[in-house]
Structures are given as structure tokens and as C-alpha cells.
Symmetry: C2
Subunit: 193 residues, 2 copies
């Protein structure tokens, strides 16, 4: 489990044994069961999540309807905006599979950052990369139709199609479950004709 973490980090910065031990001593690995809600709307938290295995999702409760906006799987990190803005959370985070997480809180990060500049470099690089990736995702979303988004998702994250319920995928694609159902039927029809 540690190997997974340090393998990931080594792609960005190289850590000494001291630095690795400092991280391990923080006791940050957590196993959580499918269905666990990590964060609720209205709650405050300082916790960030890094998925080692499994899948978590973020969703809003608008007009008592669930709107899923994000899935985070192996090697993906999520720092909820409420941690940055120090406001109550606007959304829920739940585990849609049994999941192994790293949970770190912002106080802890601040301390490690000031003790180990290398760690701050890591955080900076990861934030910059995530920002770039997310900008591209957003641009693709804006410039394409629901059908194109779905086809795009099949290409880029085929695992999600398998492991995530349809109605959650639908709002992730910005449409209603019925529309996704219909859209899929339309595509099957196309591939036949």
C-alpha cells in the first residue's frame, strides 16, 4: 500500500527515507466500506482524499435530486472546495465501492509543507497538473453534445461505464437517466443500420 503511494510520488519528486518515514508516521491510510458517506452537505472538514483502490463520488442534493459531478478512482486526488474556502461543504462525498484511501487534513499538510519544502513542491506540481487536466475536461464538456460526451467517456474512462450506475453516469454527463437510456439505444441502432 505504501509502495503504491511512494511509486506515485516518485513520478514527481524523489523522497529520502526520512521524508518517507515522516509521511508514514502520520497514519493516513484508511479502509472504508461501500456506501460510506465521507462528507455531507453543510459539514465542515479539513480532509483531502487520495484513492489507492476503489471509487468515490461527489454529488449535490438539488431539489432533493442527486446530481453526481465527479468520480475519483485509483491514483486520483480530491480536495473539496470547502477545505480551501473554509466554508461548509456544498456537496456529499460517498464511496461507491469498498475503498482504500489516504485521508490527510490541511493542518497536517501545512506542517509537512513547512518542514519539507519538497512536499510543497509536490503539492504545487500536482495542483498545477490537476488544474490543467480539469480545464481540458471542462472545455471538452462545453464544446460537445451529450452523445459526444458519452462516446468520449467510453474512450477515456471505460472503467466508469462498468463500475458506476447509469443514473449517476447520466448526471455526470449533464443529462437525465432517461435521456442516457435513450441515447444508448440510439447508438445501438446506429451501429446496426
Amino acid at each position: 500500500m505504501q509502495d503504491i503511494l511512494f511509486g506515485f510520488i516518485s513520478k514527481y519528486v524523489s523522497l529520502t527515507d526520512d521524508e518517507k518515514n515522516a509521511i508514514l508516521s502520520l497514519d493516513i491510510f484508511r479502509s472504508v466500506k461501500k456506501g460510506t458517506i465521507l462528507l455531507k452537505e453543510g459539514q465542515k472538514t479539513k480532509d483531502s482524499y487520495f484513492v489507492l483502490k476503489g471509487c468515490i463520488r461527489t454529488y449535490y442534493d438539488l431539489d432533493s435530486e442527486e446530481k453526481t459531478t465527479g468520480f475519483f478512482t485509483e491514483m486520483e486526488a480530491l480536495t473539496p472546495p470547502c477545505v480551501i474556502n473554509k466554508t461548509p461543504s456544498e456537496y456529499y462525498i460517498s464511496c461507491i465501492e469498498d475503498t482504500i484511501l489516504i485521508i490527510s487534513n490541511s493542518d497536517m499538510e501545512a506542517e509537512v509543507n513547512s518542514k519539507f519544502p519538497k512536499f510543497e513542491t509536490l503539492c504545487r506540481i500536482l495542483s498545477e497538473q490537476l488544474l490543467a487536466k480539469q480545464r481540458i475536461d471542462f472545455d471538452e464538456f462545453k464544446t460537445s453534445s451529450p452523445e459526444q460526451r458519452y462516446l468520449n467517456l467510453i474512450q477515456k474512462r471505460p472503467d466508469l461505464i462498468q463500475r458506476v450506475p447509469q443514473h449517476q453516469l447520466a448526471s455526470f454527463l449533464g443529462i437525465k437517466p432517461q435521456s442516457l437510456s435513450r441515447l444508448r439505444a440510439r447508438l445501438v441502432e446506429k451501429n446496426k443500420g
Copy 2:
């Protein structure tokens, strides 16, 4: 002009005079005319932009149609994904007004970051905040209709409605210019009846 920059920075970290001078010595302020194209599709660059005054926009050329995905105005920063990924740019950046920019390149930033850890902290904080803000923007986009997005834009960035051409606003909202025109007419009609 420098006051604007240091006033902005002082919200996040406090700089010594030495640090301020180090930044000024880099000669990073640029004035560019309306219509100037800062970056073209297919080009490589290491430059990031920070808008002191004016407005720049990012747009794709898809099927020889312009798709505008972002506007950056006073006190907003843009690091194109191509700088992070070291790939050719997928989009254009142009100035839609006479604009005063700070243009920094990633080599320069790397050098300043290693000399002044405080600067790296600043970059980390800004990236984290932008990431959080962008996540919320994306979520709002996904969970709302074109009409809601337009109303939302009127609330959050009323200046854009004034300073940006309709057809650019339309693709920013994820729709065609004709649809935005119709949508606006519909809203006027609603407010009458």
C-alpha cells in the same frame, strides 16, 4: 502597475523588498493591443498570463468553428495546459480588448521557485484556489440548463455580458449564438408577462 501586482500577492504571502525587486527585475509587464493573438493552436509555449487590465479569451477551432471556452479579466491568471503537459497548444488565446499582462515563462518560474520558497508557496496556494473555484464552476455548469447558466453569469460576471460579443458568450455557455439570442428573447418575454 506594480502596486496592483503586489497588492494582489499580499493577500496570500508577504514579500520582502528583496523579493519584490527580484520579481521586478524579470521585466514581465506587457501591453498588447486588442485583437492580438498570444498563442495559436499547434504552437508550443512556456508562457503563463496574468491579466492586470483588459480581457483575454481562449478558443478552439473545431470544424472551422470558433468555440470560446474561457475569459480572463482583471486579476485572473491563465497557465495553458500545453505549458504543463509540454505539448502543442490545442487552442488559441487572443486579446479582446487592449490589455496589460504579466507574462512569465515556466523556466523563469522554476528558478524563482527554487530561490524563493515563498514564491513556490504562493504558486501552490493560487493553484489550489483556482482548482477549487474551477471545480465549482464545472459542477454548476453540469447541473444547470443553458438558461440557468446565463442567469448565473449575469449574477457572477455581469461585466462579461457587456464587454464580450454574444457569439463568444454563447459557446462559453455551451450553446449556439442563435440559441442564446432566442433564450434572451424568451427571458424578456417572461419578465413582461
